[in-house]
C-alpha cells in the first residue's frame, strides 16, 4: 500500500502526464470513490490513449495498482483491492470518432455515456442495442469491460455480436486495436471478444465501434402471468417454438416485480414479450400469444417498464444494500432447474431472492438478500455455484462489503489459458490487482 508521501511524489509525475488540473487529490472526492472501504490514493483523468499508456508505463515502473472506471456503477464487485494507487477515469475520452448514419456504424471514446450515444443515433432512426442499467452514468468503456447489458440481448445479441472495433492500452502500456469501423472484418485477432467482460484486468479500453440497427418504429409489450416459474418457462418454450421473433423475452420473478414497482406485495411470475412491427404484425402476436396475456403495454408506460427492468440491478441494490447479485449463463433447458435451485438455496439459507432474465437466451440476473438475522449469503452463493449443471457460468456482479468469500465464479472455459492471456497483456498485474482472481 502506498503511503501519503509516495502518493504526493507520484502526483507530481502524473501531473506531468495529464496536466495539473487532471490529477485529483481532493480528499472528499477520493473518499467518495472508495471501493470496499479502500480510498484511492489519487485519481487521474487522462484525455488520450497516449496519456493512458504513459500512466500505465509509469505504474509498471513503480508497481502501482491502477483501477480504471467509467460511471462507477459496478465497482462493488470482486475482492477488496489491497490498495488503489491510481483510480483512472475515462470521462475525458468522450469524442465521437466516426458516425455516418448510412453506414449503420458508430465509434466513440470509452468515456461517452450509453445515453449520449443512444440518443445521438436515435435522432437518425437508429438503435444502439445495448440497454444496460443507468445509461446516463454507464460509459461505453465500462459497459464493454463488464459486459452487462439488458433485455434487448434477446434479439440483438450481446456486445460480442455488435462491437466491431476496439481501441485499448494493455496493462503493460502498449496501445492496441482490434477490428475496425466496418461491420464485417476478420483481419487479425478478435480483440473485442477478449476485452468484453474482462472487468478491466487486461487493458484499459479507450474507444470502440459498433454496428447499429434500424430503430423499431412501433412496439408493444404483452405480459403473461404465472403462479410458478415452471409455468412461465413452459410458456417461454411455446414462444421460442412459435414463428414469433420478439425483441425482448424477459422473465420477472414475483419479488423482482415488487422491487421494480417499489411495493412489498409480491405478485406472480411474469413473462414480458416485446414485439415490433405494423398493426398487422402486432395483431398476429396477440393471436399467437393467446389467452395467457393479461396485460398489454405501449407508449410511455411500455418504455418505463423496460427502463425499470433494465435498471433492476441498481434498483434492487438500492432497496437491499446487503444484497448479492449474480449473473448466470445457462443452456436453455437448464433455466428452469436453476430457477428452482435458486429458490431452494435461498429458502434453505434464510434469504429472499429476486430474479429477472433474458430467458430466451439463457441469461438470469438474481439478487439474494438476508431475510433473517441467521441468513447465510456466502453459503448460498457457494451452494448455488456447486449445483449448476455442466456448461453453466456464474459470476458475482455485486456483493455486500462483508461477504468477500462470496466472490465465487464458475465457467466452462480453461482457466490456465485465461491466466496466460492475463500474463501476456498485464504481466506485472497492474490492473485491478487482487480483485478478480483467475
Amino acid at each position: 500500500m502506498s503511503t501519503a508521501g509516495t502518493a504526493v511524489r507520484f502526483a507530481r509525475e502524473l501531473r506531468d502526464i495529464c496536466g495539473a488540473g487532471h490529477v485529483v487529490e481532493d480528499a472528499a472526492r477520493l473518499e467518495g470513490a472508495r471501493i470496499f472501504g479502500v480510498i484511492p490514493a489519487l485519481a487521474v483523468e487522462p484525455a488520450s490513449s497516449e496519456e493512458i499508456a504513459a500512466i500505465l508505463r509509469f505504474a509498471n515502473e513503480h508497481g502501482l495498482n491502477v483501477v480504471p472506471t467509467g460511471g462507477f456503477t459496478w465497482q462493488q464487485t470482486g475482492s477488496a483491492p489491497e490498495s488503489v494507487d491510481v483510480l483512472l477515469y475515462t470521462s475525458r475520452l468522450a469524442e465521437v470518432e466516426h458516425y455516418d448514419p448510412g453506414d449503420l456504424t458508430v465509434g466513440v471514446g470509452a468515456g461517452c455515456t450509453v445515453a449520449q450515444l443512444a440518443s445521438m443515433v436515435r435522432r437518425d432512426g437508429l438503435l444502439y442495442a445495448a440497454d444496460p442499467q443507468l445509461p446516463e452514468r454507464t460509459t461505453v468503456g465500462g459497459l464493454l469491460a463488464t459486459g452487462v447489458t439488458g433485455p434487448l440481448r434477446h434479439a440483438y445479441g450481446g456486445l460480442r455480436d455488435y462491437c466491431i472495433g476496439i481501441r485499448f492500452v494493455t496493462g503493460d502500456g502498449r496501445r492496441g486495436k482490434g477490428g475496425g469501423r466496418v461491420v464485417k472484418n476478420v483481419a487479425g485477432y478478435d480483440m473485442m471478444k477478449l476485452l468484453i467482460g474482462s472487468w478491466g484486468t487486461l487493458a484499459i479500453i479507450t474507444g470502440a465501434s459498433f454496428k447499429l440497427f434500424p430503430a423499431p418504429r412501433q412496439t408493444k409489450t404483452f405480459i403473461a402471468g404465472f403462479a410458478t416459474s415452471a409455468e412461465a418457462i413452459s410458456y417461454r418454450n411455446l414462444v421460442l417454438r412459435s414463428p414469433l421473433s420478439p425483441i425482448c423475452l424477459e422473465l420477472v420473478s414475483p419479488e423482482a416485480a415488487a422491487a421494480l414497482s417499489g411495493s412489498n406485495a409480491a405478485g406472480a411470475w411474469s413473462l414480458h414479450v416485446r414485439a415490433t412491427g405494423s398493426d398487422a404484425v402486432l395483431a398476429r402476436y396477440r393471436s399467437e400469444l393467446g389467452s395467457a396475456i393479461s396485460q398489454e403495454l405501449e407508449g410511455t408506460a411500455e418504455d418505463e417498464r423496460w427502463r425499470a427492468v433494465a435498471d433492476f440491478p441498481h434498483t434492487v441494490s438500492q432497496q437491499h444494500p446487503d444484497c448479492l447479485l449474480v449473473a448466470l449463463w445457462l443452456a436453455l433447458a437448464d433455466v428452469q432447474p436453476v430457477l428452482e435451485d435458486l429458490q431452494s438455496v435461498a429458502a434453505g439459507n434464510q434469504l429472499a431472492v429476486a430474479a429477472v432474465g433474458r430467458v430466451g437466451v439463457g441469461h438470469l440476473l438474481a439478487a439474494l438478500w438476508p431475510a433473517s438475522p441467521r441468513a447465510e449469503l456466502v453459503a448460498a452463493a457457494s451452494a448455488l455455484c456447486e449445483r449448476l449443471p455442466a456448461d453453466s457460468s456464474m459470476a458475482v456482479l455485486r456483493r455486500p462489503g462483508d461477504a468477500a468469500r462470496a466472490c465465487v465464479r464458475r465457467t466452462p472455459t480453461d482457466v490456465d489459458s485465461m491466466r496466460a492471456v492475463k500474463q501476456a497483456l498485464d504481466p506485472k498485474d497492474i490492473l485491478n490487482r487482487g480483485r478478480f482472481s483467475l
Binding site: H98, G102, D103, G125, G147, G157, R160, T170, R174, R175, G176, K177, G180, V182, V183, K184, N185, V186, A187, G188, Y189, D190, K193, L194, I196, G197, L202, F213, P214, A215, P216, P243, G277, S278, A280, V281, A283, W329, L330, A331, L332, A333, V361, G362, A390, D391, S392, A395, T411, P412, T413, D414, V415, D416, S417, V421, A424, L425, P427, L438
Partner: protein, 479 residues
C-alpha cells in the same frame, strides 16, 4: 527428429492407412482455393482429439510445422502447409456428435461439411446460419478458423456469432475447453477469441454451434438496375426505411452475364447490375417488407423488381449467386478473388475505383459481393501462365485493398488474412498493435509449430519471441 521418423510416429498414432507421404498424394494438398502452392511433407487423418493431441506432441518434439485443413476451399492460403510440414486433414473427423433440439445446439467434429449440418437438422425445422458460397464443400472447422461469412450473415452474423463452445488441442498437445452450450460464459471470452484465429493458436476438435429455427416466410427479390451506381444507392436506402434484409447481394452486369451463360439463373442479360434481396420472418412482416423493398428499388431507378414465386425460383436465383465463381472458371484459366470491406456509403466510390484499377492494369474485373455489409469480392481474371499478368493482378489487388483501407474499411471480411494479405497487415495495424497480437499468439503458439507465417507479417516473426508462453515446459526446452 527427422520427417521420416515423425511419419512413422504419425502412422502409429492415427493408423497405417491414415498418413500420406508419396509425392503424387501430397500434390493434392499443396494448394487451397487461393493462388499459392506449397508441398507438405506428410498428410495425416486423425480420428479423435487424442490423435490430434499426440500428433501435435510429436510435431512439436520434432519441430516440424503443422497446419490444420478442412476442405481446402479457403481463399487466403490459410490451409497451406510450410514446405515439408505436416497437414492435419479432418476428413475422418466428420461426425455430427449431438443435436440438442431443446437447447438449439449441435456439437460437431471439425470435418463436418457446412451444408450437411443444415440438411441433417432440416426435418426439425432448424438450420446452421453461416452459409459461405462454398458451403457444399467447406467444413465447419475451416469456418471456425477463418470466421467465415456468407450472404445471410447480414442479418444473422458470421461464424463467431454462432459458436458458443470449442474443444481445442493446443500446440503442446493439451486438450482444453472454451465455452459450452450457454450463449456466453464467465471469464475471458476465449471462444470468441479462438474463432477467426486462422489456426494459429490451436486446433478445434469439437465445436458447439447454435441452430436457428427456420423462418415462417422468406421473400426473395431481384432488383434490376441500369447501373451499379443506382444499385449501390439502393443498399443504404433499404435500411433507411427500417428494414434489415436477411441477405443483400450485388452482381455487376459483366458478372451476371457470365453467370447467365453458365447456369441460366434468370438474370436479365442487358442489366447494369442486379440486387438479390431476401427478407425473412413472420408472414405479415415479410409481406410488408417485400412491398417496401420493391418501392425503394423503384424509387432508386430500378428497371424492374421480380419476386421468386416459389421455392424453385428462389433456389434458381441463389444458384446463380453461389455459382458465380464456377461460372468465371469457364471464361478464364484463373481468377483471383479479393475480400475487401468498405463502409456501405462508400460502395459507389469503391466500385468506381475498381473500374479504374481494371483499366490501369489492363485486367477484367467482375464484381459479385455482399452489398449489405460492404464486403466486396472483386474477381480478377488472369492466366497463370502469363507471369507478367499475374504480377499485374497482385498489384491491382493491393491497389483495391489499399483503397478499402483509405476509406475506413478492411482487407478481409470473411476469407481471412492467411498468407496472401499478411504483408498488408501493417497498413491496417501499427507495429505496437501487431506486437500485442503477436504476444497473444506466443502465449499459445510461441514456437510457431502451428500454422507459422500466417496472418501476422513475416519480418516480425524472425524477431526473438516476445512475451510469455502458456506452457513453461515447452519454453524451457526451447522448442
Amino acid at each position: 527428429m527427422s520427417l521420416p521418423a515423425v511419419i512413422s510416429d504419425l502412422r502409429r498414432i492415427a493408423g497405417h492407412d491414415a498418413v500420406l507421404d508419396r509425392p503424387e498424394d501430397l500434390m493434392l494438398y499443396e494448394y487451397d482455393g487461393g493462388v499459392r502452392k506449397s508441398t507438405p511433407g506428410a498428410v495425416v487423418f486423425p480420428q479423435t482429439a487424442q490423435h490430434v493431441s499426440r500428433i501435435m506432441r510429436a510435431a512439436s518434439a520434432a519441430r516440424i510445422p503443422v497446419v490444420a485443413r478442412g476442405a481446402g476451399t479457403g481463399l487466403s492460403g490459410g490451409a497451406i502447409s510450410q514446405a515439408g510440414g505436416i497437414v492435419i486433414a479432418f476428413s475422418r473427423m466428420n461426425r455430427i456428435l449431438e443435436v440438442d433440439v431443446e437447447n438449439l445446439r449441435a456439437v460437431v467434429q471439425p470435418g463436418v461439411v457446412n451444408l450437411q449440418l443444415s440438411e441433417y437438422v432440416s426435418h426439425l425445422g432448424l438450420y446452421f446460419a453461416p452459409d459461405p458460397s462454398s458451403q457444399k464443400a467447406c467444413t465447419i472447422g475451416g469456418n471456425v478458423a477463418e470466421n467465415s461469412g456468407g450472404p445471410h450473415t447480414l442479418l444473422h452474423g458470421v461464424t463467431v456469432n454462432h459458436v458458443t463452445g470449442v474443444e481445442v488441442v493446443l500446440p503442446n498437445g493439451e486438450i482444453v475447453h472454451f465455452g459450452g452450450k450457454a450463449a456466453e460464459s464467465a471469464g475471458y471470452d476465449l471462444t470468441g477469441f479462438f474463432v477467426g484465429s486462422e489456426g494459429t493458436i490451436g486446433i478445434a476438435t469439437a465445436i458447439t454451434v447454435r441452430l436457428l429455427r427456420k423462418p415462417e416466410q422468406v421473400a426473395t427479390l431481384l432488383g434490376i438496375f441500369e447501373s451499379v451506381d443506382d444499385a449501390a444507392r439502393t443498399v443504404s436506402a433499404i435500411t433507411s426505411v427500417g428494414i434489415t434484409p436477411a441477405a443483400l447481394e450485388m452482381l455487376d452486369g459483366w458478372t451476371l452475364r457470365t453467370i447467365e451463360a453458365f447456369c441460366h439463373a434468370g438474370y436479365p442479360l442487358d442489366a447494369g447490375a442486379v440486387l438479390l434481396i431476401e427478407v425473412e420472418g413472420l408472414r405479415e412482416a415479410v409481406e410488408e417488407q417485400a412491398i417496401a423493398v420493391r418501392e425503394v428499388c423503384l424509387a432508386q431507378k430500378a428497371r424492374d423488381v421480380r419476386r421468386a414465386r416459389n421455392e424453385e425460383e428462389r433456389a434458381l436465383l441463389w444458384k446463380g449467386r453461389k455459382m458465380a465463381f464456377a461460372a468465371l472458371g469457364r471464361v478464364s484459366p484463373s481468377y483471383y478473388t479479393q475480400d475487401g470491406v468498405v463502409p456501405r456509403s462508400k460502395i459507389p466510390a469503391v466500385l468506381q475505383h475498381i473500374g479504374d484499377v481494371g483499366r490501369k492494369y489492363d485486367l477484367v474485373i467482375g464484381n459479385v459481393f455482399h452489398a449489405g455489409d460492404g464486403n466486396l469480392h472483386p474477381l480478377i481474371l488472369f492466366d497463370m501462365r502469363d507471369a507478367g499478368q499475374f504480377q499485374r493482378v497482385l498489384a491491382a489487388s493491393e491497389d483495391i485493398l489499399q483503397y478499402c483501407i483509405n476509406v475506413g474499411g478492411s482487407i478481409t471480411g470473411e476469407h481471412g488474412v492467411g498468407m496472401e494479405k499478411r504483408d498488408m497487415m501493417p497498413h491496417l495495424f501499427s507495429d505496437e498493435e501487431l506486437d500485442v497480437m503477436i504476444g497473444l499468439r506466443n502465449v499459445f503458439n510461441g514456437n510457431q509449430i502451428l500454422n507459422p507465417e500466417k496472418m501476422l507479417p513475416v519480418p516480425r516473426m524472425c524477431r526473438e519471441i516476445s512475451g510469455p508462453s502458456r506452457n513453461a515446459v515447452l519454453a524451457q526446452e526451447g522448442m
